[in-house]
């Protein structure tokens, strides 16, 4: 097993069948688990925590490269590195015929304005799918979605320490007690077997330090995020009509004090939805009967556990 530390002290891990070392799923009857360790100290402000994360990542992986998606999450991550006095390497993915220029264009301008360089990796998604390469990657790492398969292939070729910036995803999820019919709607912290668990498997096979946790790199940064006033309002239902955190993202990141320009966010993949669907419908021929699972922990319960230094566990069937 590789000794790559995805998160601080590996406090955030994904595994199967009650065995914290089992990173691979063998059949559809395997149970799936996520473990989130508690805080070991009192957190600083959210901004201080993410600046600390930038330092910590650079200390552990001096050559680390940030994969810039063109969105706000990676922009704030970059600004955290700069606030820490660090100038990280940057890279981004460009699709043929400028299919995602509307997305990475503003980011490239911003980076240029900052006096930084961003390496561009050209990637042909059509070719990736038509050649069947995406299914090879899917099988190799148990990756279900096209976007993830693309990132894994890029990370494979990149073969150096890198981080794809994530987010602290919060959503209001309905759940039913099937014995009583009682229905509830609660705020959950979410991670995905496909998007998050897959990087543990990638590290396992390749030994390449590919990370995907910036905002959740340490339990303290996650707690600092959950303690932000806007997030607190959100998960306590004090903002009317919200079912997810993304529409409050600008307000939330404004708490960091970093300057940024609000702008619509795309992924570039919206031009390739036909391929996305093609992979989705055919993936079962390659991954058998496995269906991807999502991990979720009640956000308020998670916050209490983080504060109390207790671990939180999520079990999925």
């Amino acid at each position: 097993m590789s000794n790559i530390v995805n998160t601080e002290n590996n406090y955030l891990t994904y595994y199967y069948n009650d065995d914290p070392d089992q990173r691979w799923r063998y059949d559809k009857y395997d149970t799936t688990h996520m473990r989130v360790g508690g805080c070991t100290r009192k957190p600083f402000s959210f901004k201080s925590e993410i600046v600390r994360t930038a330092r910590s990542l650079t200390y552990n992986y001096p050559d680390i490269t940030i994969f810039m998606s063109g969105g706000l999450d990676s922009e704030i991550a970059l600004k955290s590195f700069l606030a820490a006095g660090l100038r990280p390497k940057l890279t981004t993915v460009r699709f043929p015929e400028g299919a995602n220029d509307h997305d990475i264009g503003p980011m490239l301008k911003m980076v240029e304005h900052m006096g930084l360089e961003c390496q561009i990796i050209n990637f042909d998604l059509e070719k990736f799918v038509d050649s069947g390469e995406c299914y090879e990657v899917a099988k190799k790492y148990q990756a279900y979605s096209l976007y993830q398969q693309m990132l894994l292939r890029i990370a494979e070729n990149f073969a150096a320490p890198m981080i794809t910036v994530d987010e602290v995803e919060l959503e209001k999820i309905p759940s039913i007690n099937w014995d009583t019919g009682k229905s509830t709607l609660e705020w959950y912290f979410l991670k995905k077997e496909d998007q998050d668990g897959v990087w543990r498997r990638f590290n396992d096979i390749t030994g390449i330090p590919a990370l995907n946790n910036f905002y959740t790199y340490s339990p303290e940064s996650m707690l600092a995020f959950l303690d932000l006033p806007t997030v607190d309002d959100l998960i306590n239902d004090r903002i009317f009509g919200k079912l997810g955190w993304t529409s409050s993202k600008l307000k939330i990141y404004a708490h960091t004090g970093f300057e940024f320009k609000p702008r619509p966010k795309f992924t570039g993949v919206e031009n390739y939805l036909h391929l996305w669907n093609q992979v989705q419908y055919n993936i079962h021929d390659h991954l058998g009967e496995l269906l991807p699972r999502g991990y979720g922990i009640n956000a308020l319960k998670l916050r209490d556990n983080l504060r109390a230094g207790k671990e939180s566990l999520c079990h999925i069937i």
Binding site: D27, Y29, T31, S175, I176, N177, W178, D179, T180, G181, E289, G296, L313, C314, H315, I316, I317
Partner: protein, 220 residues
Amino acid sequence: MSYNLRPLDEHDLELMVTTAMAIYEGSNPDKYPDFKITHDVERETRFRKFFKLFVMPSRFNNHNVRKAFALFKGDECLALVGVRRWGHMPSWSISWLLSPSIGPRFIPMFRVMVAELCKFHEEAGMNEFYVTYPSDRESAYSRIMTPIRERYYTFVECTIAKNERHSYGFIHELMGGVLHPHDMSLRRYILRRENTEPLNAGGKVIRNKRETTNDNNSVA
């Protein structure tokens, strides 16, 4: 002695595996085809893995989306049954049933078990359920479910041809996600309630009178 349908939990896993092993040991392989639900070599491991999904501890998200029950008569375990609950419509389905009882002993036991399962799920607001069975067993199946039809409407939703996958994912899932070597019927049951029954049957439904049409004017 009365029957008692008991919901099972993770502590009953051994009971389930032992009962299943005992039933399969003495069974006719033609009537009870081998249990090929996972790729494990040992039959016991296969049972354990499969049954575990029906008795998940409550710490699991969605832990009771599948549930197992045991029907007891006094101390004797007469049958084990697994059900799956569905969220898009409040409904449930019988996933599997294991019983050492055959022939005349099976019929009363099965009727009590289905009635108890219906009662359990009606209390949770699930007023519909699905059952699948080989199409050539239609008459036997109709007879055994006669008492249930007094309280439930029923009809065959569709028939799935042998060795074919139904094009609708939900129906394929109800079939256990596998192909069957014979035609299968999917039967749906809907609870009769006040708002489904006409006045003369004790309900509140007033049907619209059928309008008479002049066939000569109809378009062919």
